[in-house]
Subunit: 393 residues, 2 copies
DNA sequence: TGGACTTCGTTCGGGTATCGAATAAAGTCC
DNA sequence: GGACTTTATTCGATACCCGAACGAAGTCCA
């Protein structure tokens, strides 16, 4: 069972079941969807005709006629995806199956403001699109994860800390205009949550994905869908007050935020005061894996702080899993510290069946989520623009 | 627009729109449901025939034919509701309109264990049922709010603190058996959340209702529906660690929980050490309204502690409203302290349109929620048991 | 080796829910 | 007193889904 709660039998639902590997034949779909075999047969035929689904031979018999296997052809449509960080960008293509193609990482300066940052990004994406088209794949949409708040209704960036010039920038529309493709923009932690959910934990209904990198953010999956909250700011744990952060001023204008003691940026700053030269959170990670004691201590402490905040979240939200993503999540001490804190502080009922783990899709989680979201939202189960003018509901 | 996300046009949805006052005529329903007028007309006719909906004259013209007003007759079915506390029980009847009838409060000892507590409860409910039937109303179901964790699947109580003998007690089935009616049991904070949502804030999608009484609990409405989390323990904020609680042992077996410094029980205990005789949280409330300085200080401090924990919840969950319910919520200093804490600590984005308020349905919130939930779940829009064998889905 | 049974998939007739147009009823407004 | 609104119902037309029947392809065992 997939977690998504769509109309059973919608084209999107069928594609998702096949893409995720949950269903590989019409008979599987009948079981998963709970619809009549005749209905499924008709729906599948439509999708095959539309080129969104392909048959490729037959599977093993289970005591009767062999099933005719279904697959999603990557030629049926891919999305370009970009996972933006403040100083780097990861760019690649994502197919409906969850496969990624042609993933590259570039250094790239978001803090220079939209005017300076947009060009290189558009350039990378346009080149990627060309290469994908040359490989015979249809580019249907673009998904972008941005390291700051995004108004998903308008596609504008909202008051990101430490990134002057971006406030109210219409990132979605500008990219769409330049690339000639529909674009979806969302917060990077939300994209990661979507990616980890689809790639590593489909089936889970309630999931919190924490991104611990230069900054700290989290994306929330509730009832199998991304939860954004009233104003789209759900998932923020970065600006929770932590006693250990005392009076430290935070980029948000408040004091004592979690971010000031547990983010990659904070740890790097602390290491620099100790005379250890580090640049970003990947440097911090490297020091930890090399066994540098100060870095290890600081990372472990960061994990404790994050765990303390998450203990409130886990008691309140009672998720099935907490996934740690971002550069620092690759540091074992951080994961261990979070685990310890959660098991110590949370109610047994909340942790007894809780999975606490590092992201399995690793650095590509954000990319996957962005690509998936774009395909789902912008390239639904039919040709470019369906004739029906967006059913009034 | 109501927040509930049901099949548009389901009998339940229609009844809810009428009950909440959102729709008062067929034309209103057409607008709200987005269905064709003919469809709505047919559906309404069915409901009128079934006695679940009544016409009562005509409304004001809006420039054309006058609408024929629809109303939910309370004779169409009510639920018995009980809001249980550790030392008292509030019992009453709830109609589909949200009206309450014949509400009474009894002292009653849950801590004496199920065998001693069940009889009086059954007695009260049976008497109430008799009176309601004598008044010409059909009793369709029973809803019960229990002050502790409940497995809503089985209707069993789960390991409640300080209430020996209740673990795994099949409260739902025992009551159903004794009363001869379908029974719904859930945690009291959940019931309160449902009640406040329906009665005071329909239309809001994301809502946290905090019950501050003898204990502290919260109920969460997400996407217009009660959110229970993976194992049904969502909404717990009582056992979050608070620095001010230091090493105080908590009923949950851990130390330093919010409950040990901010619950009515904790405040009462503290007052007793000061030589002030108090019994329950209503006593505490009385002292505060009388201006007793120690009580006021303690309550204000409790508000700060609760607010500090809620600030994490508000940042993370980004609700549209935080509603304070339970006895202590009637103390102004507590509400003020929570407000202050949230505005000070949360992100502006999370609080700029956040409503923070005391429960408007007051002491009846839990009753209302229990009644509503029972009617919704157990007495859907038709006669006792529909012929269709619970559509396989 | 050949039936009996299983699994997979399609075809086809029928049921149900909803829609839209036509119609009627009742009122407002100038 | 007509022109236009709003409300409500009636009546085919339609889309969607189901179930039964059937065909196709395989397994299993005597």
């Amino acid at each position: 069972m997939t977690a998504a709660e769509e109309q059973p039998g919608s084209a999107e639902h069928v594609l998702e079941l096949v893409a995720s590997g949950t269903a590989a034949s019409r008979a599987d779909l009948v079981r998963e969807l709970g619809l009549a075999a005749s209905t499924v047969s008709a729906r599948v035929q439509e999708l095959v005709d539309a080129g969104l689904l392909t048959e490729y031979g037959e599977g093993a018999s289970r005591g009767g006629r062999r099933p005719r296997l279904l697959r999603i052809p990557d030629s049926g449509g891919i999305a370009l995806a970009a996972d933006l960080g403040s100083h780097h960008a990861r760019v690649g293509a994502v197919g409906r199956t969850g496969a990624t193609f042609d993933v590259t990482e570039h250094s790239f300066d978001l803090t220079a403001g939209p005017d300076r940052a947009l060009e290189p990004l558009v350039g990378r994406l346009a080149e990627l699109a060309d290469r994908q088209r040359a490989a015979g794949r249809t580019v249907r949409a673009v998904g972008v994860g941005f390291p700051g708040p995004v108004d998903t209704g308008t596609g504008q960036v909202i008051a990101p800390a430490r990134m002057p010039g971006w406030h109210l920038y219409e990132l979605r529309d500008r990219l769409a205009e330049r690339l000639g493709l529909p674009v979806l923009v969302d917060n990077d932690a939300n994209m990661m949550a979507l990616g980890e959910h689809r790639a590593a934990h489909p089936g889970l209904r309630h999931l919190v994905v924490v991104k611990a990198g230069r900054g700290i953010g989290s994306g929330v999956i509730s009832d199998g869908r991304l939860y954004r909250g009233a104003r789209g700011s759900a998932g923020d744990i970065s600006h929770v007050r932590v006693d250990a952060a005392a009076e430290r001023p935070c980029s948000c204008g408040n004091i004592g935020c979690l971010e000031t003691v547990a983010s990659g940026a904070a740890i790097a700053a602390e290491l620099r005061t100790l005379g250890i030269g580090v640049d970003g959170s990947t440097d911090v990670l490297r020091l930890v894996t090399d066994g540098e004691p100060h870095a290890t201590t600081l990372v472990r402490q960061a994990g404790r702080h994050i765990g303390a905040v998450l203990s409130v979240v886990v008691n309140f939200f009672n998720p099935e899993a907490v996934v740690l993503a971002g550069a620092l999540a690759e540091a074992e001490p951080l994961v261990a510290a979070v685990r310890g804190m959660l098991y110590e502080r949370c109610l047994p009922m909340a942790t007894s069946e809780l999975t606490i783990t590092a992201a399995t899709s690793g650095a590509d989680a954000g990319l996957l989520g962005a690509g998936h979201a774009a395909l789902r939202e912008l390239a639904p189960g039919s040709r470019p623009v369906p004739m029906t003018p967006a059913a009034p509901r």
